[in-house]
C-alpha cells in the first residue's frame, strides 16, 4: 500500500524530533491543517524579505542573506538545482 503524503511527512518530522531530543531540544512539527498553513505563510514572508542569496549546488546548500547582513543556511539536495539556471539559458 502506498503511504499517504501526510504519513510520509509525519514520519520525517518524527525522525527530526527524535534526533533533536538527543540534545534535549524539542522541535514542534506541523504536517497538516492550520498549523502547516501558518508555517508556510511565515516561511514565505521570511523568504520574501531576503536581500541576497548564494546558491551552492556543489555543497547542497543555499544561503539566504538578510537585510541586516545576517545569513541563514538551507541544506538541501534539491533547492540548489531548482535555483540554478541551466547552462546557456
Amino acid at each position: 500500500m502506498t503511504e499517504q503524503p501526510e504519513d510520509v511527512a509525519r514520519a520525517a518530522a518524527d525522525r527530526v524530533i527524535q534526533l533533536e531530543e538527543e540534545v534535549e531540544a524539542s522541535g514542534v512539527a506541523a504536517v497538516e491543517g492550520a498549523e502547516l498553513a501558518h508555517a508556510r505563510a511565515a516561511l514565505h514572508a521570511w523568504i520574501d524579505e531576503m536581500t541576497g542569496v548564494v546558491v551552492s549546488p556543489g555543497l547542497g546548500r543555499v544561503t539566504i542573506i538578510h537585510g541586516d547582513g545576517r545569513r541563514s543556511s538551507i541544506a538541501s539536495a534539491t533547492l540548489p538545482y531548482l535555483m540554478s539556471k541551466p547552462l546557456g539559458s
Binding site: V54, T63, G69, S73
Partner: protein, 421 residues
C-alpha cells in the same frame, strides 16, 4: 537596489565563499631553499617515500585541450576576475583554482589559501616537470594526488542541466590523470572522479578508470547532500563490488563529511575562521569512519579498502574506542548485521594519514597499527608540511626501526594503491 546594498551583498557573498583566502594579502615566510632541497635523508636510504595527500591544480587548458569539437565551447575555462583566476563553465562561476601557497621562488604564503594568480604560485602546482623536481628536492618519490579546484564537484556539474557535458568533464579529468601518471614515469597517481549522479555512467567510468590504470577513487562522505543516493542504497552495489573485487581503494579526503559554515563564531577574520575549520575538517573523518562501520556495508564488501586522507591520526584511537563503546551501548540490535567490532573494521578496511603531527606518530603508531598509517605533506596547500619534510619525518619516525619507517613511508601506500614499484 542601492549601490551600497549591492556592495554589502557582494561582501557577504565573498565572505561566505571564503574568497578572502584568495585575495591579496597574507604574510610571506622566507624559506632557505638550499637547506630544504637536499632530497632523502641518508637515514632513510632505500625507502621510496609515497606522499599520500597532495594536490594538483587543474591546468587552465586541461579540459579545452582535450575536448572534442562539439564540447569545446562549453568546457571549463579560466578567467581572471578582479585579479583572481577562477574557473567558469559558460558564464557560471565554478570557483577558484584551489590552494597553492608555495611561491614560484619557493617561499610560503601564510594566512591565505593561494596566490590570486596562477603565475605567482609554484609551477609544480600544475606542471609535471617542476612538480617532479620539487618532489626530488623534498625527498619524495611518488605522490597520491587530489584535485585542487571544485570544477569537478558533482553538485556543481549536476546544476549545469547538461548531463552529457557534465559526464564529459569528469572523463576528461580522468584522461588527464592517466596521461600525467604515465608522463611522470609512474610517480604522480591522481585519484579518479566519477559522475556520481548517473549510475550507468558512474559504473562505466569506474571500470574505464581501473582498466586504464588509475589507482583509486575519491568520493564524498554523504552524496545525499547533493541529491545522489546514500551509500546505504543498492545504487552503489556494483561500484563497491568492483572496488572490492579489484582491490581499488576509495578515498575520503578531509572535508568530505562536514559542513564547516556552522562551526565558527560570527565576527572572526578569515584567518581565525580557517584555523578552526581546518582543524575540524580532519576530525570530521570520524563521521566517515563511523558511517562505514555502522552501515553494514563492510560486511557485504569484506575486502573494501578505504583511505582517510588528510585525516591526521591522533584522534583515531579515541574515535575507534568511542565507536566500540557505542557498539556496546547503542547497537545491540544490529549484532546480526555487524559481524565485527570497530577495531576489527578499522584494521581490515581503513588507512589514515599524518603530516604535521608529532604526538600521534611518536606515541600511537603501534596502537593504531603500523600497517594502517600513511605519510603525507598536503603539498602545496596552506597547511602543507613545507618546508621541513625530511626533518619532520626524522623527528617523528626516527625512533623506529627501518622496517616501521618503510611501512609508513612506502609499503603501506604501495599496498593500498597497488603502486607499480
Amino acid at each position: 537596489m542601492a549601490d551600497n546594498d549591492t556592495k554589502d551583498l557582494a561582501s557577504d557573498a565573498r565572505k561566505y565563499w571564503s574568497a578572502d583566502g584568495y585575495t591579496r594579502g597574507g604574510v610571506i615566510r622566507e624559506v632557505d631553499y638550499a637547506s630544504q632541497s637536499g632530497g632523502l635523508d641518508p637515514a632513510l636510504k632505500g625507502i621510496k617515500i609515497v606522499d599520500c595527500d597532495t594536490h594538483l591544480t587543474e591546468a587552465p587548458d586541461l579540459f579545452t585541450s582535450r575536448a572534442a569539437a562539439k564540447f569545446k565551447d562549453r568546457m571549463p575555462h579560466v578567467r581572471r576576475v578582479n585579479d583572481v583566476d577562477r574557473w567558469f563553465v559558460g558564464d557560471r562561476d565554478f570557483g577558484s583554482m584551489g590552494g597553492n601557497v608555495i611561491s614560484k621562488d619557493n617561499n610560503k604564503l601564510l594566512g591565505r589559501l593561494a596566490f590570486p594568480m596562477l603565475e605567482e604560485a609554484h609551477p609544480g602546482g600544475h606542471e609535471i616537470k617542476p612538480r617532479l623536481q620539487a618532489m626530488d628536492d623534498m625527498g619524495v618519490y611518488a605522490q597520491i594526488c587530489y584535485h585542487n579546484s571544485g570544477v569537478t564537484q558533482a553538485g556543481s556539474l549536476m546544476s549545469l542541466g547538461d548531463n552529457e557535458l557534465a559526464i564529459e568533464i569528469i572523463k576528461l579529468y580522468n584522461d588527464a590523470a592517466i596521461e600525467r601518471q604515465q608522463e611522470s614515469g609512474e610517480r604522480l597517481f591522481t585519484m579518479a572522479h566519477l559522475p556520481l549522479w548517473d549510475k550507468v555512467a558512474m559504473d562505466k567510468e569506474a571500470k574505464r578508470c581501473i582498466d586504464m590504470g588509475l589507482k583509486g577513487f575519491v568520493l564524498p562522505d554523504t552524496p545525499e547532500r547533493v541529491g545522489v543516493p546514500s551509500y546505504m542504497r543498492d545504487y552503489w552495489d556494483n561500484f563497491l563490488d568492483l572496488c572490492n573485487d579489484s582491490g581499488t581503494p576509495i578515498n575520503f579526503h578531509l572535508n568530505a563529511a562536514m559542513d564547516p559554515t556552522a562551526l565558527t563564531w560570527d565576527g572572526f577574520a578569515f584567518e581565525q575562521t580557517l584555523s578552526v575549520v581546518a582543524t575540524m575538517f580532519s576530525i570530521g573523518n570520524v563521521a566517515t569512519l563511523g558511517n562505514w562501520m555502522v552501515s553494514g556495508r563492510l560486511d557485504k564488501h569484506t575486502k573494501l579498502k578505504i583511505g582517510l586522507i588528510e585525516s591526521g591520526l591522533g584522534w583515531v584511537p579515541f574515535a575507534v574506542e568511542a565507536l566500540e563503546h557505542q557498539f556496546n551501548e547503542m547497537l545491540p540490535s544490529k549484532t546480526g548485521m555487524l559481524h565485527r567490532r570497530p577495531w576489527e573494521y578499522f584494521r581490515d578496511h581503513f588507512w589514515c594519514t599524518y603530516w604535521f603531527e608529532s604526538i600521534g606518530p611518536k606515541l600511537l603508531l603501534e596502537t593504531i597499527g603500523v600497517d594502517k598509517v600513511l605519510f603525507e605533506t598536503d603539498f602545496p596547500h596552506p597547511t602543507s608540511l613545507y618546508p621541513g619534510v625530511q626533518a619532520h619525518i626524522m623527528d617523528t619516525l626516527g625512533g623506529y626501526d627501518d622496517s616501521v619507517r618503510k611501512k609508513v613511508l612506502e609499503t603501506n601506500a604501495v599496498g593500498l594503491y597497488n603502486l607499480p614499484f
